[in-house]
């Protein structure tokens, strides 16, 4: 089959709306009678709510509803049902929502929220996962033993702060350490950071008088919002409609469920008027979830020839106050957390730990950015310990066909090649030639670093998606799929695949943008770099379904067997007599013979994809099949460190991924360039800063900086390796999250390689680099 459109860098299909400012986001919506919501946030990290007096707020003109937690006996959560809609009884983090108001204007709503009087009694708090696992630590959730979770998948430890304990056991690590010539033990950590979508979380909800709810939300996953709300409220799915228009960035922070229940309940209390709530930027930092912090302890045994004999790892995840999504990050680190290495003996304990900090959730990489900071720094340190080049050391230990992963999955020729990725970036940044690196002068030192990565979609073993292709009279086709494109470019990729398989021009494919649970087929969630992979399969199957219907009618119309028919240029034709053909237009609403007799009917194609072959993991050993596919990658970086100030400039960044097959070259590159800069944000700049009381003090763009146009690498190189994924659409795998992973490690490794300072914490800010150099200077 020729594949004219697959791989082509066609511009994204929604470009026009986005460059003209006509793309509609939730914040642009206005409904008749719509009220405005406002949240009141906790000023304490951990405190008992003694009393809430809402009388002054309620008596303010223009206020339609004031809600407090006591009225709302609902608990929410994706994997661990631990989140109240509003704090009730106590607050668990600074910035938690304590009360909410709906009023006729944003100004009145804000004034009313200020008039709510809350009396708190501060409680002892815990801000550090290491402290939180100690027996005498204050408990963040006294009722953990009563929370609903997925039994046999997540393992909370009642009456402690441990929300989940994931275990991985392969081989015997003690035997492995006994066989080692050297043992290297280190502790690494990184702080919580924010996703920073440019559009904050926004929701419009209308709880109608007939009891049905309509929601428009900046969400990644309309069906997950509907499902979780339905479960929490005890309402039928068919009574809840969730619509997702254009979304202004998400990065995992808009997966699961967020403001939707609160805004719905405000609408109910406000006399069934629609309510809009837009999180302020401060709320986006303090109230909506962030990325979890991590403390990682790694012990590696290695022979003097450079073979890793054992790796024992403890991951302590700082989940913050809630872990409804976070428990699955800890679980993913359990089955993926030794990196893409072939190691016979591995032991991982991954603990998701409650603290009194803002809570964490999925963030581009789903734990992998975090634990690869530890794994890939450790690999360089182990190589240094045995005097081996760190690229050679990795090559000696990487997964390759025939290797068995830590959960017992065999790697094949088609799994993808991390070796090729590492080779490519090492060559691109001149890893072996780095001894010839000149100095930049004036105390500036040039350095190179490398790091590898892998990630599979972290999703339940029954994760599913569906697509519908519905022909119009003129043989254009409507594509309906509920995966949300908030910038990744998946919608464009789907249109390319549809056009390719229906053999029609891409402009004849009409992608339906507003994702609507009332009108669109089911998808689980837009997360985990799974949409092109799973959604692509569903779209292709829907197209094949259409083709089979078209050919079936054409076969009867032309009186030839189906097997003799081909399609091209919007026509079905007889393979050996191309002149005998029927235009799709004559078929898509059913075919009419010259006599008037008609057959078939409107063509509607259906395609589905479920994560086949995955298993629940053994609770004691973590063995099983958690991964639908692995995307491997590597980064090589060249930086210049100003030893006088600790500032780092990225001169070159080379990144390679085995994507299986590029579907859209330009958009694929866009994912890499954007994701890499987001990774540099984690590497160099970003961190939550707290005061002693656990209040987040840099919850604004004034104090929390993300990379700007001035912070980009001088040169970047994106390299795509294409080892086809047998069950992927055209052989493709996902690559949305991967660019961000291991960027921090590559930079940290470069600093250590050139200057001999081992920095164990992120970010690699000028201050941290400068102080590390100063300490080394004092020591030497």
């Amino acid at each position: 089959m020729s594949e004219g459109l697959i791989g082509k860098g066609v511009p994204r299909i929604e470009s026009f709306e986005k460059v003209t400012g006509t793309a509609r986001f939730v914040g642009d919506m206005d409904l008749p009678g719509m009220l405005h919501g406002r949240m009141l946030l906790s000023p304490h990290a951990h405190a008992r709510i003694v009393r809430i007096d809402t009388s002054k707020a309620e008596s303010l003109d223009g206020v339609a509803a004031v809600l407090v937690g006591e009225e709302l006996p609902y608990r929410l959560g994706l994997y661990m049902v631990d989140k109240p809609v509003l704090a009730s009884g106590k607050v668990r983090h600074h910035g938690e929502v304590v009360a909410a108001v709906a009023a006729v204007s944003e100004e009145i709503a804000a004034r009313a929220a200020d008039l709510i009087e809350v009396t708190y009694e501060p409680l002892a708090a815990v801000f550090d996962p290491v402290e939180a696992v100690k027996p005498d630590a204050p408990l963040v959730h006294e009722d953990l033993h009563t929370y609903h979770t997925i039994k046999g998948v997540f393992f909370p430890r009642p009456h402690t702060n441990i929300a989940n304990h994931a275990r991985l056991r392969k081989g015997d690590v003690e035997e492995g350490f006994a066989a080692a010539d050297a043992i290297v033990e280190n502790e690494f950590s990184l702080p919580q950071v924010a996703h920073v979508p440019l559009e904050t979380h926004r929701t419009v909800a209308h709880w109608k008088r007939n009891g049905a709810i309509e929601i428009w939300s900046s969400a990644q996953s309309p069906f997950a919002v509907r499902n979780l709300l339905s479960v929490a409220l005890g309402m039928s799915h068919s009574r809840i409609r969730v619509v997702v228009p254009h979304v202004g960035g998400a990065f995992g922070g808009k997966a699961g469920i967020h403001l939707e229940p609160l805004v719905s309940l405000l609408s109910r209390k406000a006399g069934h008027r629609p309510v809009k709530l837009a999180a302020t930027r401060e709320e986006e930092f303090s109230t909506l979830p962030c990325r979890q912090g991590l403390v990682a302890r790694i012990k590696t045994g290695v022979t003097k020839e450079g073979k890793i004999t054992a790796q024992k790892i403890e991951y302590l995840w700082d989940a913050g106050a809630y872990a409804d999504y976070g428990v699955n990050i800890g679980r993913a680190a359990g089955y993926s957390g030794a990196g893409p290495y072939d190691i016979d003996n591995v032991w991982i304990d991954s603990l998701t730990i409650y603290t009194n900090r803002p809570f964490g959730t999925a963030y581009r990489g789903f734990g992998h950015v975090e634990f690869f900071w530890a794994i890939e720094r450790q690999m360089d340190m182990v190589a240094r310990e045995i005097g081996m080049d760190s690229c050679d050391f990795r090559m000696r230990n990487l997964l390759r066909p025939g290797s068995v992963t830590i959960t017992g999955e065999e790697i094949t020729e088609n799994t993808g090649s991390v070796e090729k990725c590492l080779e490519a970036v090492a060559a691109e940044v001149g890893w072996k030639e780095r001894s010839s690196l000149g100095s930049g002068g004036n105390g500036k030192v040039r350095a190179r670093g490398i790091a590898v990565l892998h990630k599979a979609p972290a999703m339940p073993s029954n994760t599913a998606i569906s697509a519908i292709l519905k022909f119009n009279e003129d043989a254009t086709v409507d594509l309906m799929i509920s995966g949300v494109d908030y910038g990744q470019g998946t919608a464009t990729a789907f249109c390319q695949m549809t056009a390719e398989h229906l053999r029609i021009p891409m402009e004849n494919v009409h992608f339906i943008w507003n994702k609507d649970t009332d009108r669109m087929p089911y998808d689980w969630q837009t997360v985990a770099s799974r949409l092109t992979f799973m959604g692509g399969n569903a779209v292709i199957r829907a197209a094949e379904d259409c083709v089979s219907q078209l050919k079936d009618m054409a076969s009867r119309a032309l009186d030839v067997p189906v097997g003799d028919l081909e399609i091209q240029d919007g026509k079905v034709f007889v393979a050996r007599e191309p002149a005998r053909s029927i235009d799709y237009r004559a078929l898509v609403m059913g075919y009419m013979f010259p006599s008037g007799n008609s057959i078939g009917g409107p063509v509607i194609g259906r395609g589905t994809c479920i994560a086949e072959g995955l298993t629940v993991l053994d609770p004691e050993t973590g063995q099983g099949l958690p991964a639908a596919n692995w995307t491997f990658g590597a980064h090589g970086v060249e930086i210049e460190i100003d030893t006088a100030t600790g500032e780092i400039q990225v001169l070159k960044l080379a990144s390679a991924f085995d994507v299986g097959r590029v579907i859209n070259e330009a958009l694929c590159r866009g994912q890499v360039v954007g994701g890499c800069l987001q990774g540099l944000g984690t590497a160099l700049l970003e961190t939550f800063i707290y005061n002693d009381e656990g209040c987040l003090i840099n919850n604004s763009f004034t104090d929390y900086k993300i990379p700007t146009a001035r912070d980009i690498p001088i040169e970047t190189k994106e390299i795509f390796i294409e080892t086809p994924q047998l069950n992927g659409p055209h052989g493709a795998r996902g690559v949305a999250e991967h660019p961000m992973i291991s960027i921090p490690s590559a930079v940290g490794n470069a600093i250590a390689d050139a200057l001999g300072v081992e920095i164990m914490e992120l970010p690699l800010s000028p201050e941290r680099v400068y102080l590390a150099l100063k300490r080394k200077g004092n020591r030497d």
Binding site: D28, E199, G487, T702, R710, T716
Partner: protein, 162 residues
Amino acid sequence: MDSHTIEFEINGKRASLEVVSHRTLLQVLREDLHLSGTKEGCGEGECGACTVLVDGRSVTACLTLAVEVDGCSVRTIEGESEGPDLSPLQEAFVKNHALQCGFCTPGMIMSARALLERNPSPTEDQIKEAIAGNLCRCTGYRPIIQAIREAAARRKDQSAKG
């Protein structure tokens, strides 16, 4: 509350409005004039999503009071092109894949527009400087810089021909 009548030009058309003194230009654009292409990303002048042009200079509409534009000419993304047509700058954004989620895009284009009006041949550093106040979390900025370079080159070509 104190209110004032202001008169200004919005995307080439006269407008006369009664505004309360503390209302921002962003509120008036989005809520009173229903020009929702200008986005709010932070409300404190740090992200650039609400960038518009006032008398040709780029400003953050969230930090500009509506009364300040009395007598001025204001341009928003809605004034960048008409109907099915795109401006050369918008076309360069499309062609260079200089957008992903699209939320920062209107403000980014307005900052680029202001730059090209005052400096038709900017260097790469000048482009970076001009958009350093416009945060983008998706694209990594490189395709945006490329789009602005290309739009500048095209303008130069056209003025050379003209």
